[in-house]
Symmetry: none
Subunit: 249 residues, 2 copies
Amino acid sequence: MLKEERLNYIVNEVKIRNRVQLLDIAQKLSVSEDTVRRDLNYLDEQGKVKKVHGGAISNSFHVYTYREDQIYAHEDKSVIAEKARQLLVDNMVVIMSGGTTNLEVARLLPDHLKLTIFTPSLPVAMQLLEHPSIETIFVGGKLSKDAQIAVGGDAIRTLSQVKADLCFMGMGNLNAETGLAEFDWDVVQLKKAMLESAKKIVVLTISEKINSSQRFNICPIESIHTLITELDPSHSKVLPFKAKGLEVL
Amino acid sequence: MLKEERLNYIVNEVKIRNRVQLLDIAQKLSVSEDTVRRDLNYLDEQGKVKKVHGGAISNSFHVYTYREDQIYAHEDKSVIAEKARQLLVDNMVVIMSGGTTNLEVARLLPDHLKLTIFTPSLPVAMQLLEHPSIETIFVGGKLSKDAQIAVGGDAIRTLSQVKADLCFMGMGNLNAETGLAEFDWDVVQLKKAMLESAKKIVVLTISEKINSSQRFNICPIESIHTLITELDPSHSKVLPFKAKGLEVL
DNA sequence: ATATTTTATGTAAAATCGTGCGATAAGCCT
DNA sequence: AGGCTTATCGCACGATTTTACATAAAATAT
C-alpha cells in the first residue's frame, strides 16, 4: 500500500461519508493509527480534509459561508463599505463587481434599503440573497474559476442591456496616471462593459493597491467619478485622484 | 460519533428549529447532558448559537439553507449522486437544476471528468467551481431568494439556446399519476425550459418525496426518461414509474 | 417559600494526540 | 554494487482532550 493510495482513499472516503474515524481507517488499511494520524495531519495542511479529534470531516462546505477572518484587511474594507453605503438611496439600480470589498459592501447593506442589484459575482450574489429587500439579478455566463464571476460574451451582452444608476467596482489595481487595470483579459472586458452600463462609476479599493500597475488597461482614471478608500479624503495618497477631478470619499 | 459531528448537528438543529432543548439533544445523540451543555457553551462562545436556560436558540438571521441538512441526511443523496455519476462521460453538456441532491452530485463528480455544465443554481455553481476540469456556465437572471436559483425570462431565454445531452433535475415532488410539480410558479417555468433544452431528462429525488402532490404541474411523468432514487430499482415504490416506461436506477 | 429543574465545578477514567526513536525500505550518487 | 541520504512506518510514553458521574449552587416553576 503506497502512501498516495492511502491519501486518495482517505480523501475519497471523507468526500462520500463526510466523516471518517481514525481507527476505522487504520483497520481498513491495515496500518497503524499513527500513520493515519500523520496522513490526516498532512491532508489537513493541504486543505483536503478537516482534522478533528478522533478523525476527520469534510471541509468542502465552508466555501460559501462568510468568514470575516479570512478576508484580507477586513477592517479597512468595512470602512469602505460604510462609505459606499451612503451613496445609496431606495429604488436605485446598481451594478456590483466581484471582490472581497464588494462582498463586504453587500454584507453591510442596511435591511431597509430597497435596491435592484446586478452582479456577475457568485459570492456577492450569495450574500445579497440574505438581504430582505434587495432584488438580485445575476449576470450569467461562463464562470471564471479564479474570480468566481461570470465573464465572456453572455455576461457582456447582458450588461449592455442594463442602465444602472451606480456601479461599485472593486479594483485590484489603479493608478492616477495610467488608470484602471486588471490582470485577467476576460475581466477587463467585463469591467469595460460595466463602465458603459452605469451613469456613475464608483471605484472601491484599499489604499495599498493604489498606484500598482498591472497588465491590461481598462480605462483612464477620468472615466470614473468617485473613489472610495479606507483613508481620509484629505490623505496625500488620494490627492492625485482629486487633481484629476474625481470625488474622493 | 465525533465531537465535531455533534456540534454540526446541534448548529443545524438550531438553524432549522430555531430552538433546541438540552435533553432532547442528549437523548438523540446518546451522550450525557453534561456533554451537550459543554457543546452549547462552546458554540455560544463561538457565536454559533445562543445558549439559554434549558437549551439554545438561534442567534442570527443567516440561513445557510443547503449546507445543513446535508451533513446528516446525506447518505441517501450520496447513493443518488453515485448513480447519477454513472450516466456521465467526458465532453457531455449537462444542465443541472438546484436542490441539495444536485449539490451532492456536483460535490462527488470525479476530478478527471470533463464536462460543460449549465446551471441556474448558485450553490451548485459554487460547488462546480471547485472542480478542476468542468466548465461551468451560470444561467443568469433574477434570483429567487428561497431557491437560490435564477428564474424569469432571462434564465428561460438563455436555456432555450442550449441543447444539452443530459439534464439532472432535482425534484421536491413527483407522482406517478400526475407527474412533476412545484410549489413556485417561477420555478415551474424554469424547469419547463430545462425539459426542452436537454435530450435526456433524469430526475433525482429521495424516495420520501415520491407521490406527494404540489401546486403547479410541470409535465406528465412520461416526459422524463430516467428516475434515480436511493432505493433499489426493484423496490415497490418505484414500480409505477417503471410501468410508465421510465428507466429506474 | 419550597420543590424542581438546570447549571457549574471538580474528579477520574478513557480515548486520542504529539513526539522521539529505531527499524525498514526506497531513492540516489559515485 | 556499495554506501549514503531520505522517507516511511510502528511502537512507546507522556501530554492533552473528551467524557460521564457526583455534588453543590443557581435558576425557574409551583
